[in-house]
Symmetry: C2
């Protein structure tokens, strides 16, 4: 089933807010064989909305729309949809009751603006929003469907999962089978990988396709198959999977689309090991990406962010001598940090970083982007220095990835 996403909001078009709804919708409809034809991000403007719907319905039968439903004056989606599909805006008692329930749950009073949320076009079927005040509106005409949802990500995500996706699947169904496999590959750059997989790609059947999705420090490979003959497709997919494993060996660190932190976490859990981090330039980001994973408390014990040098010495036991002679961004300091934190927090494994994230603080010997990293498993400590490109944000992200890759390699070798 092909569909179009229309995301409405001036704030999206000036870049003040990033549209994450469209990606979420696509990720959650793809497994059902639904294919986004196009995403259109447009402004809060009735003409733009009408034009976008016209163009979308020319090519697809389903339009999923987000945004433009807030209670304030800059939102005009509802009247625009009412103009497009006909009918009139009326006060709907069921919707009003839902708005009251949602506001009560948040300990808030319904006011003049939230009351306006209960005005809905007579031409739509309302799906009550269980987690927000903007009603979800399902329009249908000549076999074409448009669903209007709020711009607030968690409202659209929750209501898509609970109501909109099941209702869409029920309304449209088809018999093509779609299979996906994602492989996370470590240590091979895109162009090298392309050469290694050249023959593999050329020999893929018509029904299958390989895509390269580079991330900093990692590569995601996505193998897709679409066919009405599900059985043959499954056989082909299984063959290609084992072929890829033969070709890439240990470079494949996961057979699904999961984060590096999650891959490391699984290895630690598998081996019954615990982890701590000592962070200077990454400032807690390593701990953050690890603890984003549900269940990370099984193996993660804690962190010392030692931004100040006296925290490095007093808390982590880094020697003043090493700091004085080599500076904070140095091999002895980062190695003392990794040993200090694993001792203090009593963990089997640890990682540590110390670097110049920028934009200031660089020197000719240690320019911005210079990061010393260390990883420890049991008694074994390894360290490396990297000169990472990009701004502060990128240096932090990249150092986080690099030090987790160091740890993963140590865990693989155990």
């Amino acid at each position: 089933m092909k569909y179009t996403i229309i995301a409405i909001g001036d704030e999206l078009l000036i870049g003040q807010v990033t549209d994450t709804n469209s990606g979420w919708i696509a990720r959650h409809l793809t497994p059902y064989g639904w294919e986004a034809d196009c995403v259109r991000v447009i402004s809060d403007d009735a003409q733009a909305i009408t034009r976008a719907i016209d163009e979308a319905f020319e090519r697809t039968d389903v339009v999923l729309m987000t945004g433009g439903l807030g209670p304030t004056k800059d939102d005009i989606t509802k009247p625009a949809l009412c103009g497009y599909f006909g009918g009139e805006l009326v006060y709907d008692e069921t919707t009003a009751a839902n708005v009251r329930t949602v506001m009560q749950k948040r300990n808030l009073q319904v006011n003049e603006y939230t009351r306006l949320q209960a005005m809905v076009p007579t031409s739509c079927r309302v799906i009550q929003n269980q987690v927000g005040t903007a009603p979800i509106m399902w329009f249908e005409r000549d076999g074409k469907v448009l669903v209007s949802m709020p711009g607030v990500p968690h409202e659209t995500e929750t209501m898509m999962e609970r109501e909109v996706i099941p209702q869409l699947i029920k309304r449209f169904h088809r018999d093509e089978v779609i299979l996906f496999r994602t492989f996370m590959v470590m240590g091979i750059i895109e162009s090298e990988l392309a050469m290694m997989l050249d023959e593999f790609e050329r020999n893929l059947p018509q029904t299958m396709h390989l895509a390269y999705l580079p991330q900093p420090g990692l590569m995601r490979l996505r193998l897709t198959g679409i066919s009405t003959d599900g059985e043959t497709l499954r056989t082909h997919m299984a063959q290609r999977e084992s072929e890829l494993h033969k070709l890439l060996g240990k470079a494949i660190i996961a057979d699904e689309d999961i984060s590096l932190a999650e891959i490391v976490g699984r290895k630690l859990r598998e081996k019954g090991l615990t982890l701590s981090t000592a962070e200077s330039c990454t400032g807690g980001n390593i701990a953050h990406v690890i603890t984003e994973i549900a269940g990370s408390s099984d193996y993660f014990k804690g962190t010392v962010v030692s931004y100040a040098n006296d925290v490095k010495t007093r808390v982590l036991g880094v020697s003043q001598e090493a700091l004085d002679s080599e500076g904070a961004v140095s091999q002895p300091v980062v190695e003392q940090m990794v040993c200090g934190v694993s001792k203090l927090l009593q963990t089997h494994c640890a990682v540590a970083t110390s670097g110049v994230a920028g934009p200031s603080g660089g020197t000719p010997e240690k320019p911005v982007g210079t990061v010393w990293m260390a990883a420890k498993c049991g008694d074994r400590v390894v360290s490396q220095v990297k000169r990472l490109p990009g701004d502060r944000r990128r240096v932090i992200d990249r150092a986080t990835t690099e030090v987790l890759l160091m740890l993963l390699r140590m865990l693989q070798d155990m």
Copy 2:
């Protein structure tokens, strides 16, 4: 100047990668009075590319395109553009030399695939990519301009800043003045704010517009003015700015679009105070958002992430008694954490969190989303408990925001 953004990539349409380029481009062109008419996200498909360009040129004279230029086989943007603008793909020696330079800087060898990057349409002017191998291509026909850039965010960002934006501004110029002011507002929900500002909004001149951009726990208000009469607009803007300050008072915590962590950081620097954090459920995220700010080492000393209870007792000095009688997610524990970390890391101020981020670990008394938070300034300690909605990721983000708001209120009262 109106323009269209076209983002190309199957990975965007299945939601595996989020398109951040479009927002970046919009944010950086808006100050020049450039207005994105629409963003179209389309697949790696020659027909889709041609159609999107046709539709875009119908409404705007400039198209900025990202993506589809990687060396692997699933990218077809270059031949599609060559088909659209005419000419043929030829091997360009200058581009080849640039690819070699970029690869050498990364200590990589040019291979068959990176060599293909030097193939460019004869119908374009190449802007050499200083930070990647995909050339940037500037096409021009009948007064309309299309610039094709890579999908890798840092390449497009860097080259937009260095070359593309200056060249676009030089090529097109207009005399409208555009002014923006963003105000960060704390503690008032959108619908309440809309009521408070109802008259203010109604009295705005035709040239001005107010937008509400809610974020969890905060509201951004954006006041925009566009006019050919710059002087009058500046006067109006100044009047409206002071009017907003009168109406909202201390609820306005910043006069520009900066993060809460940055607002807190400025207050700390202003008062010469230092900060540390003790984090359980936020797992280092508070430290992370603080240290994302350049210069945060002026006031931020460090963090203890105490995911495990023995780290709370041994490192932060939380009493075993409090843990046993009240549990880790409790007022005494979070207060002992905030005092413990400020003592250990020797800081004037500190914040602490302990909660149930989920998805598991909830109980009837302390369901998922329950977070105890404490903030400390000098001898004063405040604490609160909140029941935060949403998934793990949202609970962590929201707890980070809420505890920084607590600290900000304490700093405002000093």
